[in-house]
């Protein structure tokens, strides 16, 4: 059993079962007229709130919203796909910068050092190139170039009478 003080702290459970377990509270109310009266008053208030019905959007609500969207700067209105592509720009810039810095560093190496570090320099360039290749746009362009190359070979093969 719970006492009146505990019961009144838990009245919300009676009105709104989502707030907790109300069994103990109900047991108390069955035996306490004062708390039962207070609970009835709270329940009446809770139920009365239902009399305030909601509103529907005005006829111009949706149109107004899309007008506001159309007034956004173009870059903000860009489709999510395009915006996602833009996210590659910093990566591509970083890769290009890496290449430039790498090239610049190599050009400043002493002539003797160049020979000694040629293998390391080649490895560095290869890594930098691979980083660039990771960029999908460049990959796509390379695929396009390959396709053009194939087409060119095919056309030149046709002209020379070669097949497939």
């Amino acid at each position: 059993m719970i006492d009146c003080r505990q019961a009144r702290r838990r009245f919300l459970e009676l009105l709104d079962p989502a707030a907790g377990q109300e069994k103990l509270l109900r047991d108390h109310l069955a035996s306490c007229a004062s708390c039962a009266e207070e609970a009835a008053r709270l329940r009446a208030g809770w139920e009365a709130l239902g009399q305030w019905e909601g509103i529907n959007p005005s006829p111009g609500f949706e149109r107004g919203f899309w007008e506001r969207v159309s007034r956004l700067p173009t870059r903000r209105r860009a489709s999510a796909r395009r915006v996602r592509w833009l996210a590659w720009v910093p990566a591509a810039s970083a890769a290009a910068l890496l290449l430039l810095v790498g090239g610049w560093l190599l050009s400043y190496l002493p002539p003797g050092g160049r020979g000694a570090d040629r293998r390391a320099g080649e490895t560095f360039s290869l890594v930098a190139s691979l980083e660039v290749l990771e960029h999908q746009e460049l990959l796509a362009e390379m695929e396009l170039l390959e396709e053009l190359d194939l087409l060119f070979r095919f056309e030149s093969g046709s002209e020379t009478g070669e097949s497939g």
């Binding site: 329940r43 305030w52 909601g54 999510a80």
Partner: protein, 196 residues
């Protein structure tokens, strides 16, 4: 995953119909949340549009860290609070309470409430309820509106409001206690069906 969050991710991948579906689903709930929180239909429409606009603009960086509805109601709540603050600076009596008076319980019912002795029609009772809600401090009103009218679970209200679970329950309880006291004179004259 939350299906609405999935829709948002679809929109992020470039499917505009996913956003349209979210807009269609939530436009009325968000409008009514703003309406009951601000107390003005015109302001509510403006804020609801701003809320969806923010969602639209946030799509590229969206990450489903919480339920979509939690995120949406949080945006709407922040927009409403900002509007209340700016309106209060311009006109102190404008719209509803802003929340600076957070946990104080107003001692007297709003002066605009009619004499309980007068016969009350449905429309008048609606106005009384609306006025009574309007005079709640913002923190109590926010918790009450989200629970009573939008049926959000307490845990979700806690996320939207940034309060603990117990604090949310306490706020809803206190709001209801204030309202019950204010509405009691009018409810005594209401037909019994409203008490069940």
């Amino acid at each position: 995953m939350d299906p609405d969050a999935q829709r948002m991710l679809q929109f992020q991948r470039g499917d505009p119909s996913a956003f349209e579906a979210l807009f269609e689903k939530y436009r009325r709930p968000i409008l009514n949340f703003c309406y009951r929180f601000l107390g003005d239909a015109h302001e509510a429409e403006d804020i609801a549009q701003e809320t969806f606009l923010q969602v639209y603009q946030a799509a590229p960086g969206y990450r489903p860290l919480t339920k979509f509805s939690t995120w949406l109601y949080t945006i709407a709540k922040n927009r409403c609070l900002n509007r209340l603050r700016s309106l209060r600076r311009e006109e102190p009596a404008a719209l509803f309470h802003t929340g600076e008076e957070e946990d104080r319980e107003p001692a007297e019912p709003a002066a605009s409430l009619p004499d309980p002795e007068q016969a009350l029609g449905q429309k008048e009772m609606t106005r009384i309820v609306r006025e009574a809600v309007a005079n709640l401090p913002a923190g109590l009103r926010l918790a009450l509106v989200l629970r009573r009218y939008h049926d959000l679970p307490y845990a979700e209200i806690a996320q939207v409001t940034g309060c603990s679970l117990n604090a949310v329950k306490l706020r809803v309880h206190r709001a209801n206690r204030i309202l019950a006291r204010r509405l009691a004179p009018y409810l005594a004259r209401e037909p019994k069906r409203n008490l069940e």
